[in-house]
């Protein structure tokens, strides 16, 4: 059984259809890249999988481990193992990062019927992961993402991914706003999480990110559909020729 199966998905926002019958199948252990021009519906797909309000699914379905994901609240999806790394992680003043991480982790564990992590175990885990990602401890004492640079915000997303150990990671434009050094740190963090049990969907406009996170499968999206799929070389091909040919194909 595929970990994630999107079948003929049609999605509307404010009476405008954004996705027009998108299908996608992702197995455990695979890294998929979804590329496409702006406005092709890449972020919409990631939002619908994570359960962001404001999107209306008019046709099709999304199955996660064979179950209907669209019937679940965003928090239930998270507890099942769906993780969306946001393109623009939000700042939450007044909520200390540590408190947020612990509350979120324990909420997920509770939903799965697991016991809460003890404070020493939790701290040990956070220290381990944050050291690997080059996240200073004082960042964890601040409000969630408050005053963080673009790179720090993305590293904080990867930190959460490492902490929550989801089975499906969706990275939405992780490279946006990052310089090359920040990108490398974040990508290293992601690569460390690659495992036969886990799948990743990397959404990006540019091929650059895929130099660091090497995908197994590349999909090209245009106008709300997947118009071509292939191996990692497809990304290089796109870099050379651009998206114009696929826009014609989708029309």
């Amino acid at each position: 059984m595929a970990l994630l199966e999107v079948k003929d998905l049609h999605v509307r926002v404010d009476d405008r259809e954004i996705l027009h019958g998108l299908s996608l199948r992702v197995n455990r252990g695979e890294v998929h890249a979804i590329m496409g021009p702006n406005g092709s519906g890449k972020s919409t797909l990631s939002h619908v999988i994570a359960g962001k309000p404001g999107y209306e699914v008019t046709e099709g379905q999304i199955l996660f481990e064979g179950e209907d994901l669209l019937e679940m609240e965003p928090n239930e999806r998270a507890a099942r193992g769906v993780f969306l790394a946001f393109q623009y992680p939000v700042e939450i003043p007044g909520v200390a990062t540590m408190n947020f991480l612990r509350t979120a982790l324990n909420a997920q564990r509770k939903a799965r019927g697991e016991s809460e992590l003890s404070t020493p175990d939790f701290l040990k885990k956070v220290r381990e992961v944050s050291a690997r990602l080059n996240i200073p401890q004082d960042m964890l004492r601040r409000g969630v993402n408050v005053g963080f640079s673009g790179g720090e915000k993305k590293r904080n997303e990867v930190l959460q991914m490492a902490l929550f150990e989801p089975s499906l990671c969706i990275l939405d434009e992780m490279d946006s706003g990052l310089d090359i050094d920040a990108l490398r740190v974040a990508a290293d963090g992601v690569n460390a999480l690659r495992s036969p049990e886990r799948a990743m969907v990397v959404i990006t406009h540019y091929q650059r990110l895929l130099n660091y996170i090497i995908p197994d499968v590349v999909h090209v999206m245009s106008k709300g559909r997947v118009v071509k799929s292939g191996g990692k070389d497809l990304a290089l091909e796109l870099e050379a020729s651009g998206y114009a040919q696929f826009e014609d194909a989708a029309a």
């Binding site: 359960g51 962001k52 965003p74 928090n75 946001f86 007044g94």
Partner: protein, 431 residues
């Protein structure tokens, strides 16, 4: 109407302390109250809190607590106790020495009850305890009917090690407690004062009418925390007056959680140069509860600083009112006055009225105000839910952060935690 009102005073008179000048002061105050009547919406200051419509009548004065009520009160007091504090307890508006700390050994602090002072015929100034306000109707009512309270004097230069914890416990149903406390803080003295209003199990539909008159002499400092956790169908009307001498500092925080109807009217007067005020508050109101905070900050002296920061969180049909007026008198140059009020509405039926006012009669000042009202940020809510928090927990986390910015202003770690815990209790009790 006036006849009914006089009946209130007549019925209470035998139980009210003080004769001669005290009784005359009560009569004058009551006349002034009757002339004005209950404040209503056509009086600008009471536009959003129409007592004629919402309160309708003043409940009869409470009798002293029964033995059983005292036993219950002891448990209530124990539950809210602050470690190391000098606890002073009023039950149904009457001081209870058996439930209070022994303050005779407290150095630099003189504790008397309002009743004792008013009844002391040898004290020529005793009737003045019923004055000191601005003459508004509800304050006059309080002066006329005040049955007890605390009269605290802190000696010049005393730094009180223990916080003073003034606990008002209500045990009765359908009656009024009328209390008045007068607190004088000497030059350079430092005090922490916590005022808390709580209900014993079973107390309901009662009214608390309180007045607090605080004078800070030059260089005095007061950390003040007020926690209002009345029964959810009770009424609390409080007038607070603070006068600040030169270089005095007042840091005051007010948390309103309970009472069907509450009005906290604070008047802060800067009478000496270079004094500082920080006044923060949080109203957490659900059901059909109505909480009104009305502040007047009166800059009479130059070079003083005032900061007002208020937060309201409203659920269901909760209604919060914040009226903040900053007055800068001629000659109060170099005044620095800022006021900010923000409201979070968790339901479509909640209501917030924010009314900031600036009246500036000096030309070299820096004053400003801001007000916002809105719903919880959906983007933040989704972020937290996408990380596994169920919606109620995600909301609670955001609300706690929102009010936390005002609670942060409390200097003492323990008192800050007391206020934060009270806010969390409110959040946990939301449906």
């Amino acid at each position: 109407m006036p006849d009914d009102l006089y009946g209130l005073l007549t019925a209470a008179r035998d139980r009210l302390p003080g004769e001669g000048p005290v009784a005359r002061a009560r009569d004058d105050a009551f006349d002034a109250f009757v002339r004005q009547g209950l404040p209503h919406r056509r009086i600008e200051q009471w536009k959003y809190t129409d007592l004629r419509a919402k309160l309708r009548e003043i409940a009869p004065l409470a009798l002293g607590p029964t033995e059983a009520a005292l036993a219950t009160s002891a448990a209530v007091v124990k539950a809210v106790a602050i470690e190391g504090a000098l606890t002073l307890v009023l039950v149904d508006g009457a001081f209870q020495s058996a439930l209070s700390s022994n303050t005779s050994a407290a150095s630099g602090l003189k504790v008397r009850t309002l009743r004792d002072v008013l009844e002391n015929a040898a004290d020529p100034a005793r009737a003045e305890l019923l004055g000191g306000g601005t003459g508004e109707a509800m304050e006059q009512l309080n002066a006329a009917l005040a049955a007890d309270g605390l009269v605290l004097d802190v000696a010049d230069g005393s730094a009180l090690a223990s916080p003073i914890h003034l606990v008002h416990v209500a045990t009765r149903t359908g009656t009024s407690s009328v209390t008045r406390s007068v607190i004088t803080i000497g030059r350079g003295a430092t005090v922490t004062l916590v005022e808390q209003f709580v209900a014993a199990p079973g107390a309901s539909a009662y009214q608390s009418h309180d007045a607090v008159v605080v004078r800070l002499a030059d260089g005095a400092q007061l950390e003040h925390v007020r926690l209002l956790e009345e029964a959810l169908d009770a009424v609390n009307i409080t007038h607070a007056y603070f006068t600040l001498g030169a270089k005095a500092r007042l840091n005051t925080f007010n948390l309103t959680l309970g009472a069907a109807l509450s009005r906290y009217q604070g008047v802060v007067t800067f009478s000496g140069e270079g004094a500082e005020l920080a006044t923060n508050g949080v109203n957490l109101l659900g059901g059909q509860r109505h909480g009104d905070t009305t502040l007047l900050v009166d800059h009479q002296a130059p070079g003083c600083t005032s900061r007002e920061n208020f937060r309201s969180v409203l659920d269901q049909q909760g209604h919060s009112v914040f009226q903040g007026r900053i007055v800068v008198r001629p000659g109060a140059q170099q005044t620095d006055g800022k006021m900010m009020t923000r409201a979070l509405l968790l339901s479509d039926e909640a209501e917030i009225d924010n009314k900031p006012e600036l009246e500036i009669f000096a030309d070299d000042v820096s004053c400003g105000h801001g007000a916002t009202a809105g719903a919880l940020d959906e983007t933040l809510l989704f972020y937290l839910m996408a990380r596994g928090l169920p919606e109620p927990e995600a909301q609670a986390m955001l609300v706690e952060a929102f009010v936390g910015e005002a609670i942060e202003s409390i200097a003492s770690d323990e008192l800050r935690e007391t206020a934060a815990a009270a806010a969390r209790r409110w959040l946990a009790a939301r449906d």
